[in-house]
Amino acid sequence: MNTATTTVNGHSADHEDHGHHPSGLMRWITTTNHKDIGSMYLWFSFAMFLVGGCMALTIRSELFQPGLQLVRPEFFNQLTTLHGLIMVFGAIMPAFVGFANWMLPLQIGASDMAFGRMNNLSFWLLPPAALLLTTSMFVPGGAAAAGWTLYPPLTIQQGMGMDMAIFALHILGLSSIMGSINIITTIFNLRAPGMTLMKMPLFCWTWLVTAFLIIAVMPVLAGAVTMTLTDRHFGTSFFSAAGGGDPVLFQHIFWFFGHPEVYIVIIPGFGIVSQVISTFSRKPLFGYASMVYAVAAIGILSFTVWAHHMYTTGMPVTAQLYFMYATMFIAVPTGVKIFNWTATMWRGSLSFETPMLFAIGFIFLFTVGGFSGLVLAMAAVDVQMQDTYYVVAHFHYTMVAGALFSAFAGAYYWLPKWTGHMYNEKLGQVHFWLSFIFFNMTFFVQHFLGIAGMPRRIPDYALQFTDFNQISTVGAFGLGLSQLLFLYNVITCIKGGPKAPAKPWEGAEGLEWDVPSPAPYHTWEVQPVVK
């Protein structure tokens, strides 16, 4: 945690913006400015969040009643697939890259990201990938419909929508890797004098670990989908049993990517929540060193547990036990974080502004998701739960609560810095409570559905599941509509509102609060000296 004091070499931060401020469309297309690129990432991810959310609402509408009402089963499968791909690769990951672009240089006292043009390219690769994914619904055969995990042999049998999804994943992976190279280089080379690694805010640390994870695993995903592509078009049989290949091989490769990916989407959120809780508890983060250690350990251990997603594929007992024990072990450093956040709040001078509400909501919901993860980690139990709504409930508690709630916490926390205005606090709190209540309404009941045996990824179900499905659907619409409050709040905050001071939060610490609000177009042209 950064408790450093700074001086700016006799050159105050608000005098650094030397009037260079491009405008018009070309500003956004050619920009190498980390704040512009960060803003574009954040808007892009929110747009994709709404697209993926509409798909989820269509899914939930179909599931309001048993029987087929609204969509064909084939289209339903396409919706579940695209919803997953878009939310993971189009919404969550770009959102956190957006936060990184905006905040990393400000937090470590750098004037910009290390590679400006590569940064621009990383962003502008995203819209073509998003177009490929969304327009694949309109090609013959429709979009990919094998689930976001893209298991063969389904992937080998589908139409050109699958090729478009594969190409989109290649592009998205490329973008993520370039973004990660940028983040690592920036952190290692552009820190202000005196800003040692161990003085960095936790958000920087969590992104450093995440960036290494991305570089390590995105090529694995690229390999898996390229092998799928050659199986489809070039006569190979990596995953086709008919040609001597092994469909389960794909699952191993995919989940060797997929499990670290789970941490890629959650670890930057840990960083944001750590800073928010420390600020609104008006106390330094309890166990900063432990948090850094635990995040690094989770980064390494996340590579050792992948086959807990595959207990039902027919593994030997020893392999099942190995993955079960290893998975339970990784819960230890994760659990330590929960204690650290709670201990940070203990006897702190707490106040409950919107970022803090989302951070506390995150802790509560992420703990629920962590516990259901431990239930699923047990091989004997997982055989019952595999591919049921229990799994859907579990990963939405970790993904939505983990990634989305922490992203909202971060957005409200830094909005005054980004826009120069305070957001509407009342509206923010209403947004939190509606999101919290409707989220639980949507997903908590899915635990019961899963335990009762309702399978996931089906458009129809047995009559006895109706009540819980109806509760879940009503909750989903509430959750979806609540997000429009956030959009309204952000837009009104950009347009006006009470002027935000440089440091709007009493307990906030860090270099980003030394620059005025809104942050000038160019900051830290003269690096601060951290003492």
């Binding site: 290692f188 820190r191 004098p193 005196g194 800003m195 040692t196 690694l197 161990m198 166990g287 060193a289 432990s290 948090m291 250690y293 635990a294 690094a296 350990a297 390494i300 251990l301 590579f303 050792t304 030997p316 007992v317 020893t318 036990l321 190995y322 024990y325 290893a326 072990f329 230890v332 450093p333 994760t334 659990g335 330590v336 974080k337």
Partner: protein
């Protein structure tokens, strides 16, 4: 590169110091005093190498444990 990069200290940490730091990181717990001495003495390269070796030892350890358990309860694979 040392964790305390600005001071460009040369690494002074011994083998067991690094092993200890990595062990505690796997539990996610570290005393502030120990952490501060880690930060001053352990280099980034040491941490990364020790972390990866620690990961391998962890995997091998769990595999051995599992094999012992399976052998003792007489379950065939």
């Amino acid at each position: 590169m040392s964790l305390n990069v600005q001071n460009e200290k040369t690494s002074k940490a011994g083998f067991f110091t690094v092993v200890g730091a990595v062990f505690w990181s796997f539990l996610g717990i570290r005393r502030r005093q120990d952490y501060e001495s880690d930060a001053a003495s352990i280099s980034l390269k040491q941490v990364v190498i020790a972390g990866i070796i620690g990961g391998i030892i962890f995997v091998v350890g769990v595999v051995v444990l599992v094999n012992v358990i399976v052998a003792n309860i007489g379950m065939a694979n």
